[in-house]
Amino acid sequence: MDEIFGIPLPLLFGQLLLGLINGAFYAMLSLGLAVIFGLLNIVNMAHGAQFMMGAFAAWMLLAWFGIGYWWALIIAPIIVAITGIILEKLFISRLYKLDHLYGLLLTFGLALIIEGIFRNEFGSSGLPYRIPPELSGAWDLGFMFMPVYRGWVVVAALVLCLATWLLIEKTRLGAYLRAATERAELVQAFGVNVPRMITLTYGFGVGLAAIGGVLAAPIYSVNPQMGSNLIIVVFAVVVIGGMGSIMGAIVTGFALGIVEGLTKVFWPEASATVIFVIMAIVLLARPAGLFGRA
């Protein structure tokens, strides 16, 4: 069988692989969002803007300080995480007692401010950032050429996702965090500094978004709007996966990347909407998402 539905098999495999790569991006981004929502009950609409800040931080490090990609992978997320912590201390922490929809609105407003400021500073057309030479070039897989950099993205995403999941589900620190979500006063009574843990958790989630930005900078145009295009898809991923579930976000991210990739082959115009169709179906069948706890 040389073709499926008129699409040659090699092309199909190629698209599946590309979908997987995109899925890695979605998984990594939704991971940060899921961590923040799962543990803090804040719907962080500023996530896209923080992703964008990560990319810009990488560009700034290169353009202003000559610091290259590999260092940027570590430094940029730290810088952006610090800005996230400042936001949390100043604004977000005031909302924990309220309906989590207020957190959504607040972070949405913060996103508008951040994007607006960056746009005024840097314009809207994007800044150049090159693929580091060690990662350039492509492998000839026979059915398609696979850029080395994209392979690296998949590996990096998998490592980050696994590490985060291990951290939250299998370590003691993670256990404290999860306990604090359910009974903050009790955990505080045991001597754990809950507010500080929450702040650091937000910073960690923001850092995850930022490192996604650094990974994206060489292949996507670094412009102030780059986050807002992605945020709504990532949001859908988290909702489908289950808003509190780390594993749900990871699995759904990869799965949805593949589904989107297939849609791009068979019905490309619909590839932006298929995620929402799936979201509606999932929410009707399982309101808490695929892996969520209602």
Partner: protein, 329 residues
């Protein structure tokens, strides 16, 4: 976690004084001021700007019906607003319907869309409800991008205002203004009557304690669905009127950022208040207009307003005023 949180839109109001037609004394004052403003307005300010404001105010009021009085946050309300606009535009331009029929057509189709969406979404609560409405709105957006009658990115252009009842030409801005003001006032009074009817009382009880309402024998899903349909229909009427005023219906009206704007308007004005959406719409539409010449800073300012409202003005301008004066607005 939810036991400790304060539900969105919870407005702590003093005991309602059931005055004339369900309006409290303070609200009657507000209503009188509103009618006076509607009458004098076009002679002081630019009429087309006022018409835009009134259309968006009606949209915000329709949205507020759902969040303020039923407690449901819909993230996809632009779908009904924009679809109402497209249908009315198509009806006026391609079918040659008179304006009042076009507006009714827009409202009806939006209402039908609300039936379908509401039936799917009502089963869920809180943020999941919001997400489903968003997903459905995205699908409506996609449909509008693809469907030939919407004109895609260009939208439906040159929609004629026509003659009201086949007699009164609406091309002069002042004539159109009176029609829009009338539509707005009708919508305003209609929403108010809904809230202060026995049906409205049941809605209130559902918002405050749904399990209790169910235990009393009310089929709460039906009540919520009806509220959703009414809200969608009125949003459609608002969109239909707007497209006749401007002569265009475009994708901007069904985009998710429009849904976000109506949330912002209602938040700024005051969730669950009678005059809140109107004031909120005034602030946001006014800001877009008067700050257009500041171009690049408009987005930032909108963001700042969002942040300030959530942190300090949670009850919105009208809500804060009401609590200051200790009345119900």
């Amino acid at each position: 976690m939810s036991a400790e949180t304060t539900a969105i839109g919870a407005v702590a109001a003093p005991a309602a004084e059931e005055g004339f037609w369900g309006f409290s004394r303070a609200q009657l004052v507000g209503l009188a001021a509103l009618v006076a403003a509607l009458l004098i307005g076009p002679f002081l300010l630019y009429p087309v700007f006022l018409m835009k404001l009134l259309c968006f105010a009606l949209f915000a009021m329709a949205f507020n019906l759902l969040i303020g009085y039923v407690g449901l946050l819909s993230f996809g309300h632009a779908a009904y607003f924009g679809m109402g606009g497209y249908i009315a535009g198509h009806a006026a331009k391609a079918w040659g319907l008179t304006p009042e029929l076009s507006i009714i057509a827009g409202g009806l189709v939006a209402g039908l869309l609300g039936v379908a969406a509401g039936w799917l979404a009502i089963r869920r609560q809180g943020i999941y409800f919001a997400m489903i409405t968003l997903a459905l709105a995205q699908m409506v957006y996609f449909f509008c991008v693809q469907a030939p009658f919407t004109g895609g990115e260009d939208g439906i252009q040159a929609i004629p205002r026509g003659k009201l009842f086949g007699v009164i030409p609406l091309d002069p801005d002042m004539n159109m203004y009176w029609v829009v003001a009338a539509v707005f006032l009708l919508g305003f009074l209609l929403i108010h009557r809904i809230i202060h009817s026995p049906y409205g009382q049941v809605l209130k009880s559902i918002k405050e304690n749904e399990p209790r309402a169910i235990s009393l024998g009310y089929r709460t899903d039906d009540y919520k669905l009806l509220a959703f349909i009414l809200s969608a229909t009125l949003a459609g009427v608002a969109g239909a009127t707007k497209s006749l005023v401007f002569g265009i219906a475009t994708l901007t009206d069904v985009h998710w950022s429009m849904s976000g704007e109506v949330v912002l308007m209602t938040l700024v004005g005051g969730l669950g208040t009678v005059f809140g959406p109107l004031i909120g719409a005034g602030v946001i539409v006014g800001m877009q207009n008067y700050l257009a010449e500041m171009g690049a800073w408009v987005t930032v300012i909108q963001g700042v307003i969002f942040v300030l409202c959530v942190l300090a003005f949670r009850r919105g301008l009208v809500g804060e005023l009401a609590s200051l004066l200790k009345v119900k607005l």
